[in-house]
């Protein structure tokens, strides 16, 4: 392993600083090390050198979270329309068509049903590569429908946020999605089904200021930019330097805004534990509409105990076995990944 890393470092540096997704070798944005693309993918897009969490493609995210073969796509029936006939330097419609062709998705989200270590959940995963994961009418509608269908099917909701905020090309209609997603979450609350919101890099603006911070639990991946107003806007407003680590996950954890910061390598296991625990409360009254509690078995309690023991210290990046396992998973699960819509 050490020798391999030494060779890696000897690779000539490419001229550009961009991580080229198509290239064989990538440069880590965290430590600038040259990383073999396959290694990064096998390690869930976490740098094997420095544990920097790269942005993760939506399909890989679903494959990472859903138990093999359990993901059933819900989203894709609603497609965006240019209600405002918005034109800046280019018409919104043209931008939409271009990004739809590139991503093979109607908009910046996929939702669906899955099992997470055997726990029934609904997943809502935002796609930052689609117009910056911005939330317009379609993203808002998909989240709302996912929450309502999850409630109807007694599933917990897990959302993976990655968004530049509200989609300004849809004007006030996109602002209204903040309220729409918020009221749709009531369906879950009424049935006492957990909603866990995972904030990833970046989560900003109208997404942070609506459903994404309304999780029963709100957790984040390491190093993610999470904010209401972006650092540039703040710098321009106050004309001061921003504090070290400002608006990053760890900073916000310290400010009391997050329940936890969870490395990607253990995210699935931790989410499964948390959902299990939240769903294992006392029975309600028979007619209060709440979903039936999921009773914990001895086996699941043991799993939880093991998990809680090791999870805090474990980072996928430091664990070669974990990386290898992930690579196997990647190979095996490839055919079972979410299909593009």
């Amino acid at each position: 392993m050490a020798l391999e890393r030494w060779f890696r470092r000897k690779r000539p540096t490419r001229g550009d600083d961009e991580v080229s997704p198509a290239g064989l070798w990538l440069k880590c944005a965290g430590c600038m090390a040259q990383i073999y693309r396959k290694d990064l993918i096998a390690n869930l897009y976490v740098c094997p050198e420095c544990a920097h969490h790269e942005r993760m493609p939506v399909d890989a995210r679903v494959a990472m979270l859903a138990d093999e073969g359990t993901f059933e796509l819900w989203s894709g029936r609603v497609t965006p329309t240019d209600a405002l006939e918005f034109v800046d330097t280019e018409p919104y419609v043209e931008r939409l068509v271009a990004v739809q062709q590139k991503t093979e998705r109607p908009d910046a989200i996929i939702t669906g049903a899955a099992e997470l270590d055997g726990v029934p959940v609904a997943l809502a995963v935002m796609d930052f590569s689609f117009l910056g994961g911005s939330m317009g009418s379609v993203v808002g509608e998909e989240i709302a429908r996912a929450a309502e269908r999850a409630a109807a099917e007694s599933r917990s909701l897990i959302s993976i946020a990655a968004s530049g905020g509200a989609r300004m090309q849809e004007g006030a209609l996109s602002l209204m999605q903040m309220a729409k997603t918020t009221v749709a979450l009531e369906a879950l609350s009424e049935r006492r089904l957990p909603f866990i919101s995972v904030l990833t890099d970046p989560t900003t603006g109208g997404v942070t200021a609506s459903f994404a911070t309304l999780g029963d639990l709100v957790v984040a991946e390491p190093g993610a930019l999470i904010c209401f107003a972006g650092p540039r806007v703040i710098q321009q407003t106050i004309k001061q330097d921003l504090p070290e680590g400002f608006q990053r996950s760890e900073f916000l954890l310290g400010k009391g805004m997050l329940d936890d910061v969870i490395p990607r390598g253990v995210l699935k296991a931790r989410l499964a534990v948390l959902v299990r625990l939240l769903r294992a409360g006392l029975d309600g009254t028979a007619d209060d509409g709440a979903a039936a509690p999921l009773r914990l078995t001895t086996e699941s309690i043991t799993t939880i105990a093991d998990e809680l023991d090791e999870s805090a210290a474990t980072s996928a990046a430091d664990d070669a076995d974990e990386a290898a396992a992930a690579e196997d998973r990647e190979r095996e699960e490839a055919p079972n990944r979410a299909t593009p819509v």
Partner: protein, 317 residues
Amino acid sequence: MPLPFEKPIDELEARIRDMRGYADDQHVDLSGEIAALERRLASLTRETFAKLSRWQRVQVARAAGRPTALDYLGKVVEGFTELHGDRALGDDPALVGGVARLGDMGVVVLAQQKGRDTKENILRNFGMAHPSGYRKALRLFDLADKFRLPVLSLIDTPGAYPGIAAEEQGQAWVIAACIQRMSRLRVPAVSVIIGEGGSGGALALGVANRVLILEHAIYSVISPESCAAIRWRDAAEAPSAAEALKLTADDLLEQGVVDDVVAEPLGGAHKDPAGAIDLVRAAVEREFAALRDVPSEVLMRERRARFRRMGRFLEAA
């Protein structure tokens, strides 16, 4: 300071003033001439305001001399008593809250207050609330529910404040919490956008059963200046951004974002603040009269449904 497109109107007004002064001083009867000029003034104002561009509307929405929230509260409700503080961090003067009387019922009032001069603008942070302001709103929503006091909110803010402390104290979290808390109110809620409805910071007080907007007010996901800076990479393109964002009262009515437009006096609320305040008072009284006897469950359900419907998209058959 008149707005650029108001100059001919202001000049005509000045002429009428001069003529009146002259008539008084010299004891001559110029009433025929004055009446003719006043008719010209009215038609000029009407024509000017009928063809305002969206960017010009933005300027009217922000005009100096336009009544602020506290100006409205002095007349729209009676005996407004300000209640201070969020019970945790402080008291935010940019977001004012309190109790008041509207007809025979008590109400909780929440309002974003811009300054009427430089000194007040600094005190009020130009109407841009910190998390403390939204936390104050949260506790007053609780008060409203506990004592079954209907909620009136007056919206006038460029947006929630973007600053270091604001981010550290969870600006996004409190805005989301306000949206959720307001959507859960068991009492009637009416919002009036009186000037600038700036993004999430405005929506935090705008999850009402009925959302009204003044004729020349705006409501937008982002300010035209910021939109221009991002999408055109040039803040000077703000007029183009204002056009593209479709942020005027008529646009928002068409989009279903607001329920009704409250007409302003000719020439805008800043020309006749007292007239504007009377019109808002009448509209607010009408809305609460229609909502006051609606059962809590229905109010909640309909408010949720109102926002659940928002948006435009296509659906595959």
